[in-house]
């Protein structure tokens, strides 16, 4: 007799990796459920529903009366109908009415425990007002967890510096910058600032490096298709490099000019895109270089000496 492996029970809970646990507690049923569905009314016949199920490769159809869930017709109900010869009859008298439902605000962990508790592979979902809002299948749960894990991994990858070969007395950090990702833009610069603080670099230098890193990071997020930012901290300098994957700058000389910008209105409304990013970066840098090839991408490099120089602010 095969027995069911508990997906999540009291004693298995601590064996599940904590990230997965966190995800299924964080995600709600409504984040995972299917909302675009075939539904039926009580007047439909089993035959009609069977046709819908077959044509759309689905295994359960909720039965609604207005927005209220009144029943559900599953493949086994269809089989029973065929068996007992009521396949051409309205479903009302035969459909499953004893329904186990989930609420859309419940954490996904709740749903997972339902799959352990009950033999069903799908649960109808209702909202606070008891209105039907969707269906949650095991496939939906898996998809939601995988998507969320994917997101988490992306975040971790962004945070992790890749294993660059570091020379002695050298620290290298690298971060990915995504296009238009204003949520995260600035994060790499935050990390640089923290690192420089740890290394007890002077406040003035930290500030200049922060300005350069932030402007360069924002520039990649605003103007490029995405790229990466690299910090190289050495004994006497900090080097900040951004490399993006395009579209490249047609006229670099023009781009360096204060006030020149190709940013759109939306970016301008946030207070960026005024054509000051590059001049700001240049001003705080001891060395500054832009290389760009239209259609390919742009590399910007800023070097700031750790020893305060007279020329810089």
């Amino acid at each position: 007799m095969p027995h069911r492996f508990p997906i999540l029970s009291e004693d298995s809970a601590d064996k599940v990796p904590s990230l997965t646990m966190e995800i299924i507690f964080r995600l709600k049923v409504k984040d995972a459920m299917m909302t675009s569905l075939w539904t039926a009314t009580k007047k439909h016949t089993f035959r009609e529903i069977q046709t819908v199920m077959r044509d759309n490769e689905i295994s359960g159809v909720p039965v609604l009366d207005d927005n209220r869930l009144v029943g559900i017709v599953s493949v086994s109900d269809i089989i029973n109908a065929l068996d007992s010869g009521h396949i051409e009859e309205p479903i009302e008298a035969y459909m499953s009415k004893q329904l186990i439902v989930l609420e859309d605000d419940m954490p996904l962990s709740f749903a997972v425990s339902y799959y352990n508790k009950y033999p069903y592979r799908r649960f109808p979902v209702i909202n606070k007002n008891k209105e039907f809002v969707g269906i949650l299948t095991t496939k939906d749960v898996l998809t939601a967890i995988l998507n969320e894990m994917n997101n988490e991994i992306n975040i971790l990858e962004n945070q992790l510096h890749h294993d660059k070969v570091e020379l002695p007395n050298q620290i290298i950090r690298e971060y990915i910058i995504k296009q238009f990702d204003f949520e995260k833009a600035g994060q790499a610069s935050f990390k640089l600032k923290k690192l420089l603080k740890e290394k007890e670099v002077s406040r003035k230098i930290i500030r200049r490096a922060s300005v350069a890193a932030y402007e360069m990071e924002i520039n990649v997020a605003i103007h490029s298709n995405g790229g990466k930012i690299t910090f190289v901290l050495e004994k006497d300098s900090i080097t900040i490099i951004t490399k993006d994957t395009g579209p490249g700058i047609a006229d670099v000389a023009q781009a360096i000019e204060e006030g020149y910008s190709t940013a759109n209105d939306w970016i301008r409304s946030l207070g960026f895109g005024a054509g000051m990013g590059i001049p700001n970066t240049k001003r705080v840098s001891d060395e500054f270089k832009i290389e760009s090839e239209p259609g390919k991408g742009t590399i910007v490099k800023s070097v700031i000496y750790l020893e305060e120089t007279d020329e810089s602010q």
């Binding site: 935050f190 300005v211 932030y214 946030l270 207070g271 895109g273 005024a274 054509g275 000051m276």
Partner: protein
């Protein structure tokens, strides 16, 4: 004069629940964050209408003392949370940047 003292003196409300109550060195009024990035001095109060999370990022990079949001602009929750995390005060006033700058300037120069 500390951030809390500037707030008390000018009658401008502090909306962040927690912040580093540091000495305010100066003020800077601008709605252009790139301009702030270029020219605002550290430990300044930034007087602006840019009520979004990126303003906090800029303030944090520059070690600003706080952000004063003018014209009663609504402060998004994610902005407030980011500021609290960074220890940066957010203040809010119904008045515009001109009047607010005057009030803060007077308080700091007294």
């Amino acid at each position: 004069m500390r951030v809390s003292e500037v707030a008390a003196k000018t009658g401008i409300e502090i909306v962040t629940k927690s912040f580093n109550d540091i000495e305010v060195a100066n003020g800077y009024t601008s709605d252009l964050l790139s301009d702030v990035m270029g020219f605002a001095e550290e430990e300044s109060l930034l007087i602006t209408i840019q009520a979004h999370k990126n303003t906090v990022a800029v303030a944090s990079q520059l070690d600003l003392a706080g952000i004063v949001i003018c014209n009663g602009r609504k402060i998004p929750e994610d902005m407030r949370l980011a500021a609290e995390q960074e220890g940066i005060a957010i203040l809010q006033t119904e008045e515009n940047q001109f009047v607010t700058s005057h009030k803060i300037y007077s308080a700091l120069r007294e």
